[in-house]
């Protein structure tokens, strides 16, 4: 569980927000919606242990990410995946290189298993056979989906997604919703930063949006009516789940 207590952030001498309380439980999907430049990415970075909040604290599994041990912070990062709003497309870097990097972060993954999972995950996000494609040659939607697949490779327990739905495009909202629901069933926590909650995601079993500072926080139940049958997420490298995600 990720909990934020009275969190506040200041940017360029201006208070973005303060007194924000959050509790993101295991197996939940949260959408933090807000207008441009309201500090969504800042909040995401604070929640994932990347940027110390100017006020308040973030606690994961009962220990502060910032005031606790560096090892706790490291293990939390190892258990987290992040898809940034824009994925830099380094010259000459292919999609497979990104998976190779993810495999390095995951630990020891045999090449054959890496290849198999890469194929499976790329198919899952609608990019079959894109291994050799240069990252810089992909469209914004393809990049966002490839970045998601790269993160899913490590089967992170916490998934932070910055503008993924907006980048992936409307036609992917339902498919990704079904995928996230499948992930949530496996007790993974998904935190999404978006301009707005997709229309089809509103209502249902989720809780009504709550206003917090400039944000609208919604715990959503992704639509049940996705593509035929919920997508199944390939098992993590090594075949067994790493609940801490930590590299020993």
């Amino acid at each position: 569980m990720i909990e934020a207590f009275r969190v506040g952030a200041v940017s360029r001498g201006k208070t973005l927000w303060e007194g924000l309380d959050l509790a993101l439980g295991d197996g939940e999907i949260w959408v933090v919606a807000g207008p441009p430049s309201c500090g969504k990415t800042v909040l995401m970075n604070i929640l994932r242990g990347e940027r110390r909040p100017d006020l308040g604290d973030v606690v994961v599994s009962g220990e502060s990410v910032y005031k606790g041990s560096p090892e706790h912070n490291r293990r939390f990062r190892a258990a987290s995946g992040v898809v940034p709003e824009s994925l830099p497309g380094s010259a000459g870097r292919t999609v497979e290189d990104m998976f190779r990097l993810s495999a390095l972060a995951a630990g020891e993954v045999p090449a054959a298993e890496r290849k198999r999972r890469t194929e499976e995950l790329l198919s899952l996000v609608g990019l079959p056979g894109a291994e050799e494609a240069g990252v810089s040659s992909l469209s914004a939607s393809e990049r966002a989906r490839a970045a998601l697949a790269v993160e899913l490779f490590r089967s992170p327990r916490y998934l932070f997604l910055d503008m993924l739905l907006a980048n992936a495009g409307k036609e992917w909202e339902d498919k990704l919703g079904a995928l996230f629901r499948a992930l949530a069933k496996e007790e993974r926590t998904i935190i999404m930063m978006e301009r707005q909650l997709p229309d089809r995601w509103q209502g249902g079993k989720g809780s009504p949006p709550v206003s917090a500072g400039p944000f609208s926080l919604s715990r959503v139940a992704a639509p049940a009516t996705g593509p035929k049958g919920a997508p199944s997420v390939p098992p993590p490298p090594g075949g067994k789940e790493d609940r801490t995600g930590g590299r020993e």
């Binding site: 490291r74 990097l101 495999a103 390095l104 020891e108 995600g245």
Partner: protein
Amino acid sequence: MNIPSLWWIDWSLHGKSMRRETVGRFLLCFLAASYFLAMLLSGGVDRFLAGQYTITAILRIGVPDDEGGGIAGKVIAVAPVREALYRDPEQAWKEFLGAYPGLESLRSAGRIPLPGFVEIRLRPGWMSEEGIAQVRSALEPLPQVEKILSGGEIMPRLLRMKWWANVLLWSGFALVCVVFAVFLFLQEKARAARLLPDVSFLADRGVPGGLVATRRAAGAFVTGGLLALLAAGASCAALLFLAGRFSPVRVVVGSAQELQDARFALPAVLFLLFATMLQVLASLAGWRAAFPKGR
């Protein structure tokens, strides 16, 4: 097989440039190894000078051949001596006539007017005033020896010049090592800078930069050791080939077979260790230069 994958992060993510860099690295390491082996075998200019320089012990007229041969046998036991050959008066006369033709008339009634002599060559490592003095002190007490020719007053000057020539040659080796080190450092720094986004990616996912740096250094130890071993092996093979084919190489550098001598084992191991550690240090220094502390 559980391969420590972070050891090979450079190969895994920048395989193409790593292959290119390794070729350059191998060539420089080969150059350094060849230089070092050549210096080790030749002792700089020592081998060449030892091949040219002789100490001549002129025997008294009338010393029998068996005694002359005995002196040569005794003097070869002296540490600095590589070769000692006795020339009887007949051979001495022939050599004299070869050098000064037309003086046959000096030989009257079959008597040879020249004495026999012992020609002594030193080992390359003993081309020094101390080595010459040792040979002289072994010869001087012998009653059969009339005179010892060992270069006279010019020798100290010649040996000083030899010392400076060797210093110059070893400085050349040091320069090759410095160029090698700078080359390695620049390669490593550039590659570490190219790894920046990858390192940020890994750090974001709980793999600390320090861990990546130390694992890369461990990988550099393995690949650097292999590279040094291969380069040294290739330079041995090249030396063997060149010395077998070209006699000037044999005269100046010596034969590569001599490298099997046990006295070369320690310097060879030290060179391999030095070349390996240079690559490990370059990996760490390149990393530190690309990612200064606190970044």
